[in-house]
Amino acid sequence: MSLLRIDDMHLSFGGVKAINGVSTDVARGRIHAIIGPNGAGKTSLFNCISCVYRPQRGSVYFEDRKITGMMPHQIARLGIARTFQNIALFHHMTVLDNLMLGRHLFLKRGVFFGGIYLGPARKEEIENRKIVEDIVDFLEIENIRKKPVGTLPYGLRKRVELARALSLSPKLLLLDEPMAGMNLEEKEDMARFILDINEERGVTIILIEHDLSVVMDISHRVSVLDFGVKISEGDPAQVANDPHVIRAYIGEDDDFLREPEAH
């Protein structure tokens, strides 16, 4: 059963067609990777799903409900969380505050009770702090929980951003290059976290990633975009052997293989 369905999506910026008729289904409980060369439209696709961009044509359905045209903050309420390619944390806030912000929709007390603090506001702060601390434990960031995010190294920030997305208790998690710029060890940690999130928490994941070996290892299904068009889709082994994909990544066979002619 599909959790997210993208139906014939078209998005262009002026004359540039960023996405040109992409349709796909993301099955519940799966890790679905989206790969493709730079400028293929992967992040634009994410931005359309989370309603930061509005596609000119086509729609996105989440749990059979049309979400295209909603406001980004309404998307969070449905249970869609995401991380960004360039880390988009709240730099002056501590790790805990970043995660507690992820609980925003689950906290109910407004200005009046928040200002008084004692009583209802404190009660729900403590309840949600427990949930956040579970995520802190899960992602092994206990020792930095009170540090401002701006002071953390890159790899940890990526992990904190993942934690913040998780604190929304999402059904669907969009990860935009979670391993970009990481070393091997950090990549392995991140891959393990992604698998754990999928298996233990049952979160469906859509993943954009350039490291193809990771993608092939952890994802259940892979879609390949090139110049805004979906050129291939299937399980990792199928996609890896698809001639269209090979051409998109390393160019035409004969261009690449032909011996340079002597002049």
Binding site: V52, F90, L101, L107, L168
Partner: protein, 355 residues
């Protein structure tokens, strides 16, 4: 067994605002100090002379106003150049309610807060589209529009003559002296500052900071941008309104010149010097911006009295030195006094073993 260090074993303890017994004692002592300071007498005379009490009173009022603008500018990242006018809205509202409608001070103050909050939210509507410096200019427009209204809407504001307003009274007792009025201002200031401190560390405050730090990802996390931008204007203006009303009642007279653009800039300076996005920084800033000019004028007077030949020079230097001190502060402590305060605390935490 007594452990060395500060161990908190429940989330409730971990989230307290004053975390250690030492801090709690310090705060209690400070509160008692503020309570008894005005009534202390030495040889039949008040220890705190009238003019010094007045300064303390103005610092308390400015603290409320500074916390207000810090909520908007420091926490939500929306620069405001209209704080002076919003103080004015509060002062005029309370003046109208107490002097013209004849209602009590205790109606006037909340009314001032609410009317100003409403005005702030109206002038905050451009924040839907404008950010940063562009929004600052939009708030500057609100400053001029409101000032114009203060002068022109004579039936309410008394025009350029202003309005004379009474001091508050409880059960027949009027707080007519500065010394008694001080206690009312102190109580309001403590309640409002604590409220702000709590608000900024819970749901609403976190949402404000998220909007400031990265509005797109705040939206993705489920925060309704426009609602929180407006709410920030509302809360901030509520504080400005109350501060303005207290200020009006302290002078017993409200006129439009008290709320000009200079006031707005002074308030902005308070939070920049004190520390953006910090409640205690707002208070430090208020103390700094009100105390320093007074200190400088005291020094100038002393110097002029001793060396009459440079009296005129010293007086003209006064403003220059004030400006110089502000510039030096910004160069050497760009994160504000609140940051310096943190460093001092961190230093003494481990004293004398700093490793």
């Amino acid at each position: 067994m007594h452990y060395c260090g500060d161990f908190r074993t429940t989330y409730r303890k971990d989230m307290e605002i004053f975390q250690t017994p030492f801090i709690k004692v310090c705060m209690a002592v400070f509160l008692v100090f503020l309570l008894v300071l005005p009534v202390l007498k030495l040889k039949g005379e008040y220890l705190l002379k009238g003019e010094y009490l007045w300064i303390l009173l103005q610092i308390l009022i400015a603290s409320i106003g500074a916390v207000g603008i810090n909520i908007l500018t420091g926490y939500t990242g929306q620069i405001s150049l209209g704080q002076g006018a919003f103080l004015g809205v509060g002062a005029y509202t309370s003046a109208y309610v107490t002097a013209k409608m004849g209602l009590s001070f205790w109606v006037g103050i909340p009314a001032a807060g609410l009317v100003t909050a409403l005005a702030g939210m109206v002038f905050g509507i451009p924040s839907l589209r404008l950010k940063g410096l562009y929004l600052a200019i939009a708030t500057l427009a609100s400053q001029f529009i409101l000032e114009w209204i203060f002068v022109r809407w004579e039936s309410v504001t008394g025009g350029s003559h202003g309005i004379t307003i009474p001091r508050p009274s409880i059960a027949g007792h009027t707080f007519s002296t500065d010394r008694s009025y001080y206690y009312i201002v102190l109580a309001v200031a403590i309640v409002m500052i604590l409220f702000a401190a709590n608000l900024m560390r819970t749901r609403t405050g976190r949402a404000f900071m998220a909007v400031r730090d990265h509005y797109i990802s705040a939206e993705i996390m489920g925060i309704h941008l426009f609602k929180y931008r407006l709410l920030s204007f509302g809360i901030s203006s509520f504080y400005a309104g109350v501060a303005g009303a207290l200020f009006g009642h302290s002078l017993k007279y409200v006129t439009s010149e008290q709320f000009n653009i200079e006031v707005s800039i002074v308030y902005l300076a308070m939070i920049i010097i004190g520390g953006l996005g910090s409640i205690i920084g707002s208070i430090f800033g208020a103390v700094f911006m009100i105390l320093l000019p007074k200190l400088l004028s005291v020094v100038t007077e002393m110097v002029s009295a001793d060396i009459p030949s440079i009296a005129r020079l010293a007086i003209s230097f006064e403003h220059g030195i004030f400006g110089l001190i502000i510039i030096l502060f910004l160069i050497f402590e760009p994160d504000g006094l609140a940051h310096r305060w943190k460093m001092v605390k961190a230093y003494w935490k481990l004293y004398p073993f700093s490793y």
